[in-house]
Amino acid sequence: MTNALSVRALTKKFGDKTAVDALDLDIRAGELYALLGPNGAGKTTTLRMVTGLLKPDSGSIEVFGANVITDPTAAKAMLAWLPDEPALYDKLTAWEYLEFIAGLWGVDAKTAAPRAEELLKLLGLWDNRDERTEGFSRGMKQKTALAGALIHDPKLLMLDEPLTGLDAAVARQVKDLLQQRARSGGSVILTTHILDVAERVADRIGIIQHGKLLAEGTLAELRGRAGGDNATLEDVYLQLVGATQAGAN
């Protein structure tokens, strides 16, 4: 079966600093994968390269078999990217924003309109659909951006810190939606600093530091590596990250 995402020996340097260092990563279809790591570990850089926003120095990236570097259009058509700061047009309404995204991804209007209605209703934005997003709260903006990411029904959804700044109710809504998406066969990658979220929703977890994958597996597998069935993800994470930091020092 084709992987949703295959990353091989991916490297990106910014001057002397190596942000991503010969990274190998495989995300299976229908999987919810959480990529964890401290600030500056290379999580966002990796996802930005997958999305085609950054050009890798070396390595390869394939999304459902489409090479992101040689055939970016085909790969992008299957992708959706939700950055940590939702990028909306404040003078457009939520409905117009979805219309715009649908148009960019080449979704037929007859398909896009009912899909937009469904998403806006699901995310509790239906009554606000004709309001300009400039008046939206942080949570509403995040939900609008999420609806935008889902309007073209991407095969691989990538989210960078999707729960930052959201209140508990909205965060719960987003988590449910992501799990639902994975259950229905969609692939999801998310980066987060909230370990509890990764522990609860992710099928597999990857821990990255200094641009390298330190460990990867299900929560049980990671616990096994940490040497205790009762260990929390936080214990595992701190053990792994702490060990390399101590080694680096």
């Binding site: 999305t51 085609g52 926003l53 950054l54 050009k55 992101v68 570097i69 970016p72 259009t73 085909a74 790969a75 992008k76 058509a77 992708l79 959706a80 990217w81 950055p83 990028a87 909306l88 047009y89 404040d90 003078k91 457009l92 309404t93 409905w95 117009e96 979805l98 219309e99 715009f100 995204i101 649908a102 148009g103 960019l104 991804w105 080449g106 979704v107 037929d108 209007a109 896009a112 309109a113 937009a116 209605e117 606000n128 004709d130 309001e131 300009r132 400039e134 008046g135 935008g148």
Partner: protein
């Protein structure tokens, strides 16, 4: 005053921010910048030297005529300063920056505001400070003591203009509310700034004799008012001439006006600031007939750009206001056409002027639609090629420009000759296409909010752009006047420059998406 939270402490902070902003606007290597500033200082110093030398040989005579002339210059300066101050005052409220931080600190409100407004006054007066300062430093060397109060008088005018700007902004807040103030203030500031230019052009609408007569009458009326040594209106001019205590009275008046204006402004500031912070929160609904959507990448992008433009009156006014400068020009042609109809030469002049205006309009619009993007990552992550996106965005600028071109071109075809209309369309279209292509090749990416602050590329690029436009303007004029064969030369110059601008474009990766 000097300690943390004191006036000078805050003023230093403001000056640091102004300096950093100033430095951030200038691109280029450190050495190149040093050479540029050294040349500017040398040039100013040289100019100042000669002006100071010439002035020192003349004793300032505050005759009614001289007072009137200086008074008129002060009126013009005041209008320009007021325009800039009004713009900066309203912007300082809407683009809060560190204002919330300062207001949440235990520093008294009046102190924060007096420093911020002083910084605005300094910002407004900086250019005049540099220009008059270049002369001022040489005056003692040549013994031109009698002219020494001229520069300080101009700088005091800055304080007075800032005070007037504060009063005007406060009145606008009270009468039309915070939501409209920003847009209206912007338009008003531009109108005030343009007023002098437009006013000087109005006499051109009349015949030479009538114009000369009108100017004489205007002068005869203005001199007794501005040059009346007993009138308070001539106070700044008298201060500039260093008459007795007039300079000190002018200093007191402008300083008092500034302090009183800040005090009045501060007394309502909390309410105004609260009203502004609520501006973005109002729910603005857009009426829509049915739950329909439209497909197609190009249509989607064009519609998005038009929607964003239409819903941002501030930006729209910034694009449209430069067109005001062309009104007197077209009024001249209009009056001539009304009197005797258009001959080919008049038509050529009109066509050239129109292509000039069209280029200015298209350049602003193309720059905005192509470069200004609030969600660049979203666009770059879409499965659409960079070229498709750029072309669609340029199209969003080209269509309104063509719509502006067609009516006068049809008019020229009907009232002059069909060939005149044809050449006007060709010249106008070439200018629009060139402008859009340059906007694509030399993008300056940024958000729409940064529109006003962003420069449109390097000096060389601006020169190139201007000369491409001039080529098309010349070619259109020549072709419309019946010398189409001679139009080939300026057209070729434009094409050559366009080619050079194409070759000097930055790589695609620097203009947007990596892949």
């Amino acid at each position: 005053m000097f300690g943390p939270g004191g006036v000078l402490f805050l003023l230093r902070h403001e000056m640091l921010l102004i300096w950093r902003n100033f430095r951030a606007t200038g691109k280029g290597r450190h050495v190149r910048r040093i050479i540029f500033y050294s040349l500017m200082i040398a040039l100013l110093g040289f100019g100042g030297y000669w002006v100071a030398r010439l002035l020192s040989e003349v004793t300032p005579e505050p005759t009614p005529l001289m007072l009137g002339a200086v008074g008129a210059a002060f009126v013009i300066l005041f209008s320009l300063m007021l325009s800039q101050a009004l713009m900066l005052i309203t912007e300082s409220l809407y683009q809060r920056g560190d204002l919330d931080l300062l207001l949440s600190s235990p520093v008294p409100l009046w102190r924060v505001l007096i420093v911020r407004m002083s910084a605005i006054a300094i910002n407004v007066g900086l250019l005049y400070l540099i220009l008059t300062g270049a002369v001022f430093v040489w005056l003692p060397y040549f013994g031109g003591w009698a002219w020494m109060s001229f520069a300080p008088s101009v700088l005091l005018l800055t304080l007075f203009a800032t005070a007037a700007g504060l009063v005007l902004a406060r009145v606008m807040f009270a009468t039309i509310g915070p939501r409209n103030t920003r847009t209206i203030a912007q338009i008003l500031a531009s109108l005030v700034g343009a007023a002098f230019f437009i006013a000087t052009q109005i006499p051109r609408l009349t015949e030479d004799e009538t114009r000369a007569q009108a100017m004489r009458e205007l002068f005869e009326r203005a001199v007794p008012i501005l040059g009346d040594a007993s009138s308070p209106i001539s106070l700044p001019a008298r201060a500039a001439f260093g008459i007795g205590v007039d300079f000190w009275i002018w200093a007191l008046v402008s300083l008092a006006a500034f302090i009183l204006a800040v005090w009045w402004y501060a007394s309502n500031f909390a309410a105004d600031a609260a009203a502004i912070s609520g501006v973005g929160g109002r729910k603005r609904r857009v009426a829509r007939a049915a739950q329909k959507m439209q497909s197609g990448v190009r249509q989607t992008l064009v519609r998005k750009e038009w929607r964003l433009l239409r819903r941002d009156p501030l930006l729209l006014s910034q694009i449209l206001l430069p067109l005001l400068y062309f009104i007197p020009l077209f009024a001249v042609f209009g009056s001539r056409f009304g009197d005797q109809g258009f001959d080919r030469i008049s038509a050529a002049g009109f066509a050239s002027a129109f292509v000039l205006m069209l280029t200015s309009f298209a350049a602003s619009l193309a720059w905005l639609t192509v470069s200004a993007e609030d969600a660049p990552d979203l666009i770059a992550s879409a499965p659409v090629s960079r070229d498709e996106i750029d072309n669609a965005k340029a199209l969003a600028a080209a269509v309104p420009s063509v719509a502006l071109l067609l009516p006068p071109a049809i008019g020229a075809a009907i009232f002059v000759t069909p060939a005149a209309g044809f050449w006007m369309v060709i010249g106008g279209a070439a200018a629009i296409i060139s402008t859009c292509l340059i906007a694509i090749w030399h993008q300056t990416p940024g958000s729409r909010k940064q529109f006003r602050r962003r420069t449109r590329g390097s000096l060389m690029l601006n020169f190139g752009r201007s000369f491409v436009a001039l080529g098309w303007i010349g070619a259109t004029g020549l072709a419309v006047s019946g010398w189409a064969i001679f139009a080939i030369l300026p057209a070729l110059v434009s094409l050559g420059l366009l080619l050079a601008l194409h070759e000097s474009r930055p790589p695609v990766a620097e203009r947007g998406a990596a892949l």
